[in-house]
Assembly symmetry: C2
Homo-oligomer: 450 residues x 2
């Protein structure tokens, strides 16, 4: 389609304009930029021919909504993206300033280039292209673009949970993931969920001197260690009763597909992670451990003395940040209850221990035979010229679970980022050929999703 | 002796003068006060009739030395105390300002009242009294008063380790401990030693996202927990090979003496410590666990995220502050080597772990039949009117080990503090009757140590 080629210059200029807005949602001083970014998105939706475009206000940053419902009797797709970005620090590590987009080689460098302004614009420009060329779309589309993805997405979560009728759709299309490797069109069909909380252990009424009381005083830090070791053994097996009951093993076909992925384990271990050995449940393959098995991790332990030198304190209290990644069909509330019961059972003498739940997200797994998934795979294969691969992600995208649970629709995760895009890090970039091909692939998808 | 009674007013004024000097060794801005306090001590030693009084300069705060060697052929006692104090924070919790000594009831309140200015002055005033009344002493005495006790005592440790001939003595007298209960004269005959270090665990080359890498990435915080649990079991037993080989069980007589101590375990547990249960090795009694058994404690664990909210990081590195209390006849260097070997053996897959030794002190245990100990017990019994009890302390006074190892002399620990003196806390105090009786008891000791 030569329309796409002709418009590349304009696409790039619009992307740069979007990237110049420092819409950092984690910093309150950027409230004005957040609004400018929301209005930029609304303008682009109107320009693409969307109707009923508006900012949905509420507690938090505005959601941007727009729709085109002229394809009577045809499926409806709900497009999701986000216009907020991470902070840019450390600034001194950026080759070019984070909010002055710079093209070097085939990449554009700026905060938000890949996460998620570039990918959000792909969706809008794809719809705009079809509307411009044909004056209508083959399917109905709705856009719901949020501005709090980097700070927990509470506004959109509440909004989706309220099941507003105007969000009714047949599938969601989420453009916030990456390709498994360059030139390899990739669909993500599964995400891990998460439950995150604090393990709080209390001992004496005040800090104690380890010389005077050591030998008789319970040590909450040691209790944290003992509880963690009771919850997960040295071989990476979670020892929480009932925790694995709902875990759905990956299908044989999925295992076979993973085995065909271009992957260099040695490079992954030595260069990407930089560890002396990969760990985890030895009876499962690497992709199973990363994508299809639950995990339990401790992220930090607070309490006592961690400064320079020596202080011989037995702290009165200790707190550990602990999360579990969940896989289909585990349920966050049930997992929390299981963890709480296991913590209570593992609590050593002399202290009290409880797991305080902070937040969570359900896992998700779509059937690759779903027609909206198959259509996306075909569209990407056609445009990229390579067979689309199916992967999962070990991370969590809470909105996917929300779409599933509150709207009852599957999410099609078309990824156009690359593994080295430096998300959340200095010198974030987007590979421009993927930006242009992404627009074509999503436009093609509108026909195939019919 | 009416001399002592007549001089109480002067003793109190001199104590107040000493307490008004904010000689806080942990804060560099008090360097001038440190020197003033050292010079105050030197002046008091001269006033007491000591000869060769001088400030021994070196790296750190000055040591104050003075001697009287006129008792030819008689034993020599080496008196130890310290003129530096802890910081006074939190200031708002003091009833009267920490460096404006205030007498309320029978107590004097000020930072350093009990730890250790009041007790150091007891030693000087006792010697002064005998010199004033008789013009000579029954034994030879040497004073070595330091100004870095609250910051590790490195200057005195180096000085003693150099075995200077002028420190030659038959016994050291240390006035820096407490009575087991009010009115109960107490000799401390054993101290635990300590080895303190950092358990450093390294995993990936940088922090990792627990969603993306969890299941395959080693977690250094979890490794810290696993290593700690391998080193000590849930019942408080240290599982370090060879660690207990040199541990000398408390003698039957010592056990019998401990059983007679006035002690309310319920009050200790519920009020003093405020815990729901005492812990530790169930097969040992409480005083054994506190005084005669080694311990292993973790004081803090650094790494990852411990702020408010949630961050899903697997840290590249974790560090735990770990110490072990040692008992006679354990040796610090050997204990460090044993811990290092046990850490290496317990290191889980995917990480490296090492125990980095920071500092230590040898345990000490004197034979209660030692003549200098027996003489001290008799002096205290006579002055206080109650039988002197023998206890140990679970804490560590490094100088005791240094006197033992470098000078080959036992330490007589005459304690005149009380358990509720608020050492290192707001409203530190000294019970004035103990101050006055302490002077008499030490003066009496000079005769009995003959």
């Amino acid at each position: 389609m030569s329309y796409f080629t002709e418009n590349r210059g304009r696409y790039l200029e619009e992307l740069k304009e979007f990237l110049r807005i420092p819409s950092i949602s984690t910093l309150p001083e950027h409230k004005g930029d957040i609004r400018r970014a929301a209005e930029f998105v609304a303008g682009k939706l109107r320009q693409a021919g969307m109707e009923g475009v508006e900012l949905i206000e509420g507690e938090g940053n505005p959601l941007v909504y727009g729709e085109w419902l002229g394809a009577k009797g045809k499926p409806t797709l709900l497009f999701y993206g986000h216009y907020d970005v991470q902070p840019a620090e450390p600034l001194e590590e950026w080759v070019s300033p984070p909010f002055e987009p710079a093209v070097r080689g085939e990449n554009i460098y700026a905060r938000g280039a890949a996460d998620d302004k570039g990918l959000t614009l792909i969706l809008i420009k794809a719809v705009e292209a079809v509307m411009a060329v044909r004056g209508s779309l083959p399917v109905n589309v709705k856009f719901l673009i949020e501005g709090e993805e980097e700070v927990g997405g509470e506004h959109i979560e509440r909004y989706v949970a309220s099941k507003p009728p105007r969000l009714t759709a047949d599938a969601a299309v989420i453009c916030d993931t990456e390709m498994f490797a360059p030139e390899l069109p990739t669909l993500c069909i599964g995400l891990r969920g998460i439950v995150y909380g604090e393990l709080v252990v209390k001992g004496a009424k005040q800090d104690l001197h380890s010389g005077v009381y050591g030998g008789a005083a319970p040590n909450p830090l040691m209790a944290v260690a003992e509880i963690l070791c009771a919850l997960k053994d040295r071989e990476g097996h979670i020892r929480i009763p009932g925790f694995h009951d709902r875990v759905r093993p990956a299908a044989e076909a999925e295992h076979a597909a993973w085995a065909r992925l271009p992957f260099d384990e040695k490079k992954y271990r030595d260069e990407e992670m930089g560890v002396i050995a990969l760990t985890g449940e030895a009876e499962y393959g690497l992709f199973d451990r990363l994508w299809a098995r639950p995990t339990l991790e401790v992220h930090g332990i607070r309490g006592g003395f961690t400064g320079e030198g020596a202080k011989t304190v037995i702290p009165a209290q200790a707190l550990a940040k602990v999360s579990a990644r969940l896989v289909a069909d585990q349920r966050p509330e049930e997992a929390v209850a299981q963890i709480q019961a296991a913590v209570a059972a593992a609590c050593p003498k002399g202290v009290t221990a409880e797991f305080r739940y902070l937040h969570g997200a359900a896992p998700s797994l779509v059937n690759p035979d779903n027609r909206f998934i198959r259509a996306a795979a075909q569209a990407m294969t056609e445009v990229f010229g390579n067979e689309t691969v199916y992967v999962r992600s070990g991370g969590s995208i809470p909105i996917v679970g929300a779409f599933d649970q509150s709207l009852g629709i599957p999410s099609v995760m078309m990824g156009f980022g690359l593994p080295d895009d430096n998300l959340h890090a200095p010198n974030e970039k987007l590979y421009l050929p993927n930006f242009y091909r992404g627009i074509e692939a999503v436009a093609r998808y509108l026909d195939l999703a019919l």
